[in-house]
Symmetry: C2
Subunit: 294 residues, 2 copies
């Protein structure tokens, strides 16, 4: 496969050479020799919904508008049917304001703050579970040949991850085609940016696969389901609650995807094993995603 | 090194065989064969400070009292000098209440919610940076031989991570001795549990090293500094802001620690390179921490 070919699949791909997103920092290595490495930027972005300040998120800063929209949607503070009349980013103030035609008060439901998996802010946990009650994820077929192809392409896509580590990626895919690859210091930001893009583009969700480098926690599963995406896949592992929720909402959940191996713990019905696993090339070590931790 | 010897160093070590912390789940693998794997549990824990509900955290559930104390301390809602008269965990309600002698109102400062790196809740970012102004981290010497020894021991310590993946670990160390190894689905929970333990034990901080599997983000650096620990080390990478803050507060920050290699981007003055890096055994692949993502 020619490297360039599949990169043309992307509507949005990471931009590891954007010098706003990384910084060269100098220190000393194990031998006491000076070494300069590339580290990712992390900036505060304060999100407003109309006149109300909601949260300050730390982000690499590449898609503040998508992040704001997606965050508000995934928190249930903005509903898909709400009319958004403007999304305004002020680079100097590091603020983004999302304006709706009608002032909503969904955000007032945030009487209870939840930190899920140690991550998230203001997620109303009870509301999150309620929000899932209306979710009906469509049947669609996922070919394992497509999943292997996606993982192969994603692992070879130049990214901040490969450049500077310390970052998470989530990719919206269709069939064997990666479409929108978002990265950020927090995996929830990456997912939220995708949700924001889908909202702006009025993208369909029911025929998509979400691929992430992050763990398949309850929060990841909930966000994916709320976004209407029926399949979530990751190299990483699962949590028990993530699996429970996936089974509850009928999401196809695939984890520990490395080389030819994977485990499907929910939504088996969508999987079509059309590839011979033994024919899948083992991951080239240099493309193996590093143990970047969280 | 006999495996058992260093395990005796630990005051608290992970307990991967505690069947409350993992669950066996069955699904299908790439060949369509049934497979049963171990996944970590994730439970909500609602933390109260006196009569005030603060947050619900998702946790593996092993040390709810330490988590509550550490969370409140690291958020500045509880101060080291506050008198705690009780920490009560109700397993059935999944609630933990921290009671102080005098009702405080630090938590009311939480007018502004911050999600840093996509993770955290209610961190008053401005206050966090202010809280660092008073921090003076002591000079102390860190031997690279000790760092290599710690990494070696930690990688060989039986853990939920090695058992079930999808989890983060943070270890409080002294010299070449790992003392308290906490794990959780969120890396901030693991750090908070250590802070809670240190508070309960009135443990000194200035002679300790904090080792984490997670990335060295601004929030990790801030928590470590607030805990009074002068050295933070990780296998993972850095963010630019994490490095800036570390340099600002004089924290020794060591990242990308793998085998003999590491990079020190701050606080170089504490490092004593007493080991010949070339003599350090390369990591045994089977002990290499897997790319568990976040």
């Amino acid at each position: 496969m020619n490297n360039e070919d599949f990169l043309r699949d992307y509507l949005i791909a990471p931009n590891p050479v954007d010098d706003r997103l990384t910084r060269a920092v100098t220190g000393l290595d194990q031998e006491g020799n000076e070494t300069t490495i590339s580290v990712v930027e992390e900036r505060p972005l304060t999100i407003y919904l109309n006149s109300r300040e909601i949260v300050t998120a730390m982000t690499i800063g590449d898609y503040p508008e998508y992040l704001a929209l997606g965050f508000l949607l995934n928190q249930g503070m903005l509903l898909p049917e709400d009319e958004v009349i403007g999304v305004q980013f002020d680079e100097e103030l590091e603020v983004v304001v999302v304006r709706t035609a009608v002032e909503t008060n969904h955000e007032e439901k945030l009487a209870k703050k939840t930190r899920t998996s140690g991550c998230a802010v203001g997620t109303v946990f009870g509301d999150m579970m309620e929000g899932l009650e209306g979710v009906a994820l469509p049947d669609m077929q996922v070919r394992t040949s497509d999943l292997y192809s996606l993982a192969h392409k994603i692992n070879r896509t130049p990214s901040l991850y490969l450049e500077a580590g310390a970052i998470h990626g989530t990719v919206l895919c269709q069939g064997a085609r990666p479409l929108v690859y978002m990265e950020d210091v927090g995996r929830h930001n990456a997912v939220d940016k995708i949700a924001g893009w889908m909202f702006q583009e009025s993208a369909t969700a029911g025929d998509k696969v979400l691929y992430t480098t992050g763990r398949l926690t309850s929060e990841m599963v909930i966000k994916t389901a709320m976004m209407g995406i029926p399949v979530l896949a990751s190299r990483s592992g699962f949590t028990a609650w993530g699996v429970e929720i996936a089974r509850q909402v009928g999401l196809t959940l695939i984890g520990r995807m490395r080389g030819q191996r994977f485990v499907c713990l929910s939504g088996e019905g969508r999987l079509l094993r059309d590839a011979d696993p033994k024919s899948v090339v083992e991951e080239d070590k240099k493309h193996r995603r590093k143990g970047a931790g969280a």
